[in-house]
């Protein structure tokens, strides 16, 4: 379904994507995993024909660059955050993108129901919450039922609650014979949705493995998600890094990977530095397991 061969994209002298080759068969579900700046989003943009790149990408038999329109017709795309037509009414937005996909009469009600946004079609896009916006984006991506779904850090800008909900929809979608490629740095998402994991580092594809071996090799026990007021976040990051953790910022707080027997350590560390922790949440492998079974190796 998707064939990438020697894909390289340079911005000036820096190779954002460096000689990536990968093949996704129909029904495959591959997670792009790696730290920020590893080239996941750039690779996805190359796939969508948004960047000039070296190498060849074929989507459903169409070259992503030279026949981008054909290629993209097979792809439903959900970005990290949609920023379009704020003044538009939801129904009209859906109809517009439906038209661009050549769907003459879009079933707006049905589409919205499918993503859990029934009766919202008269609302302005501006007035939707983050999670609802992402579900709208998903609804648009599913218009016309494309065989490929491409997701780029789709939950990165959502809060915990929104992410839970959104994941549950995605969970339903995978395995319907649809090919999925998504970028994420959340192990729970990967575990829930992916069959295989492609690990990226500084633009290179360092490993492609099935999700089970990925889970074991990256078997950090759990993540602690800390809700910390925005102004103290930078200092908290410093404190945690100095304390031997590898903290990561996300939209609403800090995520710290921890060993299973040290879940309280980051909070204690911050308390000693007099940084207020408003709330915390433990995300363990067990939680991820609860959502969906881990697929066996393919």
């Amino acid at each position: 379904m998707i064939i990438m061969h020697g894909v390289t994209k340079r911005f000036r002298r820096i190779a954002a994507v460096d000689n990536v080759s990968m093949t996704l068969d129909a029904g495959d579900s591959v997670a792009l995993w790696g730290p920020n700046g590893a080239g996941k989003s750039t690779l996805i943009r190359c796939l969508l024909g948004l960047h000039r790149h070296k190498g060849v990408i074929t989507v459903n038999g169409h070259n992503a660059r030279s026949h981008g329109k054909r290629a993209r017709a097979s792809i439903g795309y959900v970005p990290q955050e949609i920023g379009f037509y704020d003044d538009l009414v939801v129904g009209e937005a859906i109809r517009h993108f439906g038209r661009l996909r050549g769907i003459r009469r879009t079933d707006i009600d049905g589409t919205l129901e499918r993503v859990g946004l029934p009766g919202q079609l008269a609302k302005r896009v501006r007035d939707l919450s983050g999670g609802m916006k992402q579900r709208l984006a998903l609804a648009i991506a599913l218009l016309g039922d494309p065989p490929i779904l491409v997701l780029d850090e789709v939950t990165a800008s959502l809060d915990a609650c929104g992410r839970e909900e959104f994941m549950s929809f995605l969970g339903q979608l995978s395995g319907a014979g649809r090919t999925m490629l998504f970028a994420s740095h959340r192990i729970d998402e990967i575990a829930a949705l992916a069959k295989r994991v492609a690990v990226m580092e500084s633009g290179r594809l360092t490993a492609v493995m099935d999700v089970a071996s990925f889970a074991s090799s990256h078997g950090v026990g759990s993540f602690v998600h800390l809700a910390i007021p925005e102004r103290t976040r930078p200092r908290a990051m410093c404190v945690l890094s100095e304390g031997g953790f590898e903290p990561r910022l996300n939209g609403v707080g800090i995520i710290v990977p921890v060993r299973t027997d040290q879940k309280a350590a980051p909070i204690a560390l911050l308390a000693r530095a007099s940084i207020t922790v408003d709330d915390f949440e433990i995300i363990s492998r067990a939680t991820a397991d609860a959502h969906a079974p881990i697929h066996g190796p393919t």
């Binding site: 993209r72 017709a73 038209r99 661009l100 996909r101 009469r105 049905g110």
Partner: protein, 291 residues
């Protein structure tokens, strides 16, 4: 409310380019009409035009004499000022603001080529500009008609048509600016700068050149064809009552020398101003992509 079962077509066949362009155009048109700039420019254009028409109608003392006069001159002047500014800024905002909002990548991730997106926006904005011109000049025509002014119907039709051509040229130029600049504010700034150059800069420079280098009339005429605003002005004068010779020796030379082919010459110049920037914008945009 639509509750029909969705009819989905096989996705390996995205819509024809023309259809895509049309839908993007419709969207852009609706968007443009909703925006503040469109309302403001339309109001300003109409208000100024009405002012010009009223003032010049009362200036003729209701004598009912007809001929080329201050009404036409005032309207041409107004078009020269407002239409390029409007079209340039609309064009400049089109792509750059989408890029800034992160919407461009999303749009181009749909089965839409960059050229389709660009042309669609061009068409939509062009129709919005057409609406603005029709409204503005239409109101002027009503005033001129009721007050017995100095313009006949065909002059107004010519003026509207040529204003639209000028608007297309400036819109294309604006979109070219939009494609090559990264930020919306820079694009708008560049558009205003280009506007200043076209409206004042080139003419003043050419005037200075005429006085200092003693340009010959044929050189002066040829040089004046570079500026689309001058071309619009000369074409309007030539078309309205064929009084291009109002513009003195250089224009008289043009009429004597080129006569009938003047329409073609002016048409070519304006077409070049429409096609060249738009083509360049298309090429650059599809090569450059989102980044």
């Amino acid at each position: 409310m639509q509750t029909t079962v969705s009819l989905t077509s096989p996705l390996s066949r995205p819509p024809h380019t023309l259809v895509t362009v049309a839908w993007i155009g419709v969207r852009e048109l609706k968007d443009a009409i909703g925006t503040r700039w469109f309302t403001l420019y339309t109001l300003a254009f109409a208000a100024l035009g009405l002012g010009v028409s009223f003032v010049s109608a009362s200036g003729s003392g209701g004598s009912g004499l007809s001929g080329f006069g201050r009404t036409s001159a005032g309207l041409i002047n107004l078009v020269l000022l407002v239409v390029p500014l409007m079209a340039l800024s609309a064009g400049a905002a089109s792509i750059a603001s989408d890029r800034e909002r992160g919407m461009l990548a999303y749009l181009l991730a749909q089965p839409v080529t960059p050229v389709e997106l660009l042309l669609g926006k061009f068409v939509g904005l062009a129709v919005a500009l057409l609406a603005c011109i029709l409204l503005g000049l239409g109101l002027c025509a009503m005033v001129v008609g009721f007050k017995g002014g100095a313009l006949n119907a065909s002059s107004i039709a010519w003026l509207a048509g040529l204003s639209f051509l000028l608007a297309l040229g400036m819109l294309g130029t604006g979109m070219l600016i939009s494609v090559v600049t990264r930020r919306a504010s820079v694009a708008t700034g560049t558009a205003v700068f280009i506007w200043l150059v076209l409206v004042f800069g080139t003419d003043l420079a050419l005037m200075a050149g005429t006085l200092t280098f003693r340009l010959r009339i044929e050189e002066l005429f040829a040089l004046s064809l570079i500026n689309p605003l001058q071309v619009f002005k000369m074409w309007s004068l030539h078309a309205i009552d064929s009084t291009l010779d109002v513009l003195g020796p250089a224009a008289l030379y043009a009429v004597e020398e080129h006569g009938e082919s003047l329409h073609a010459i002016f048409g070519l110049c304006l077409s070049a101003w429409i096609l060249a920037p738009l083509t360049l914008a298309c090429v650059l945009f599809s090569r450059k992509g989102v980044s």
